[in-house]
């Protein structure tokens, strides 16, 4: 890759523009580093990966609104976690976390346990766990 071939595309594809270092050859054939703002194929595959995650969150949101899963389930998916990762952050067993994905068990949770879940997601208050958006998530 020559220096003038280093891609500078799609700088505004995501919220925050970010430069990565790329190695490229200068006119004399020597390698140097060049900052690149983005590249179209890379943007496509990254957007695909995010779409997949958003789709999972959207499915979870529908299940929650239908009353089949607890709000915790939606927030787990939104943060791209699963019962295993959440179990690591909270210290609850995987089985218990999965129970808390059910509305029946989630409704009985104490304030203290809700706080643990909120901390796992870096939420300020446990009340944020109960918030389910009315529209599809975009990222």
């Amino acid at each position: 890759m020559k220096i003038n071939e280093v891609p500078q595309e799609d700088a505004n594809a995501f919220e925050k523009a970010f430069n990565v270092l790329q190695y490229a050859v200068d006119d004399e054939g020597k390698f140097t580093t060049v900052k690149s703002v983005g590249w179209n194929p890379k943007t496509v595959v990254m957007q695909n990966a995010w779409d997949y995650e958003n789709e999972k969150a959207e499915k979870a949101r529908e299940l929650v609104l239908a009353g089949k899963r607890s709000p915790l389930f939606y927030h787990t998916r939104k943060n791209m976690m699963n019962a295993w990762i959440l179990s690591g952050y909270t210290g609850f067993s995987i089985f218990r976390v999965m129970l808390h994905f059910r509305p029946r068990f989630f409704d009985r949770l104490s304030e203290k346990k809700l706080k643990k879940y909120a901390d796992a997601f870096n939420y300020e208050t446990p009340d944020q766990l109960l918030e389910i958006p009315n529209h599809k998530a975009e990222k």
Binding site: Y23, P41, S87
Partner: protein, 336 residues
């Protein structure tokens, strides 16, 4: 306090950390040299391990490998620690900083506040260096960022104890002793020898150039086997591993070519310079692969098909096989 530590931006986090740490201890090596000495070039396709609902592809060995290998062959002594208790790990870090030792840490990126949101997945093998504490905030040199960043106590504790795979469990490492004049030539030869081992000499179908060939044959079957949606997601995963943050382009191939170029000057070897140029051409081919895969992922009507992409991968595996066999010959020529 703040340690007088020079922060240099790098393409890859681990190379950058190792290169910056070594420079602090008087061994001035560029990122590419560290990458080569640590035998960072690799390829593997593990269809039976799923990461983020896609098979595992890797263009690099396991995290921590480059650091271990590079310091070992340069004769640098290191110390690595894990902690069960998060608060103890932070105390230990504070004690280190008070002694003036820049300390490397393995962290997860999902809760890293300064990281760009589009890159924040549950990836737990990012490397950063703490170089001081000012007003209760830690000063962090993250090689992929342009400047010095800061983190609060709680933020740092959270990312050091990120959960998922792999779990960093507060891993921190630092250099305890560095030699005055390290034998860089020998280290370079060792690094290349190891890279040749990984890429062409290890048995089995999933590692090195055989892994690339295997993947090439498998890619052709993906659309029938998984359907178009899943197949394009898997293909996207390869391109993400190849081009996302920290590879310097083309799945470390340009970085390795840069290393070969520098080593050619160091070892006065014209053959190696020629191989570096070949490596650059392979890197360009990897980029062609990414372009083709990107078009397929976009789902538009294109002329590219999975068969062509598979053939491209098989061609690449053949090219890289020739490169590493040639390198093997060059390195053997240096042996007395």
């Amino acid at each position: 306090m703040r340690i007088n530590f020079e922060h240099r931006m790098a393409a890859h986090c681990e190379n950058g950390v190792v290169s910056n740490l070594l420079r602090f201890y008087g061994i001035d090596l560029s990122e590419a040299m560290v990458f080569g000495i640590g035998s960072g070039i690799f390829f593997t396709y593990l269809p039976f391990i799923k990461l983020g609902d896609a098979p595992a592809f890797a263009f690099r060995p396991l995290p921590g490998h480059i650091f271990k290998k590079a310091t070992n062959s340069l004769g640098v002594k290191i110390h690595t620690e894990h902690f069960r208790n998060p608060d103890k790990s932070m105390q230990s870090l504070d004690a280190n900083l008070a002694k003036g030792i820049p300390t490397g840490m393995v962290v997860g990126v999902y809760f890293l506040p300064y990281f760009p949101p589009q890159y924040r997945f549950h990836f737990n093998a990012h490397n950063i260096v703490a170089l001081g504490k000012e007003d209760g905030r830690y000063l962090i040199s993250d090689p992929v960022m342009e400047g010095i960043e800061t983190l609060s106590y709680d933020e740092l504790k959270k990312v050091r104890y990120a959960k998922g795979f792999p779990q960093p469990s507060g891993k921190m490492y630092y250099i305890t002793k560095a030699p005055q004049n390290a034998d860089i030539q020998n280290a370079v030869l060792n690094g290349i020898k190891n890279a040749v081992l990984y890429m062409v000499k290890l048995p089995g179908p999933v590692i090195g150039v055989t892994g690339m060939k295997y993947l090439g044959n498998r890619v052709k079957k993906w659309p029938q086997k998984f359907g178009p949606k899943k197949a394009s997601r898997y293909l996207g995963q390869i391109v993400r591993m190849q081009e996302e943050i920290g590879t310097g382009g083309a799945g470390f191939r340009f970085l390795y070519a840069a290393f070969l170029q520098e080593s050619a000057v160091l070892l006065h070897s014209e053959a190696m310079d020629e191989i570096s140029k070949q490596m650059t051409r392979t890197g360009d081919k990897w980029r062609d692969f990414a372009v083709a895969a990107g078009r397929l992922c976009k789902g538009r009507e294109t002329t590219e098909s999975y068969d062509q992409i598979g053939d491209l991968l098989i061609e690449l595996s053949e090219d890289e096989k020739q490169i590493f066999l040639a390198l093997d010959k060059v390195v053997k020529g240096f042996k007395k």
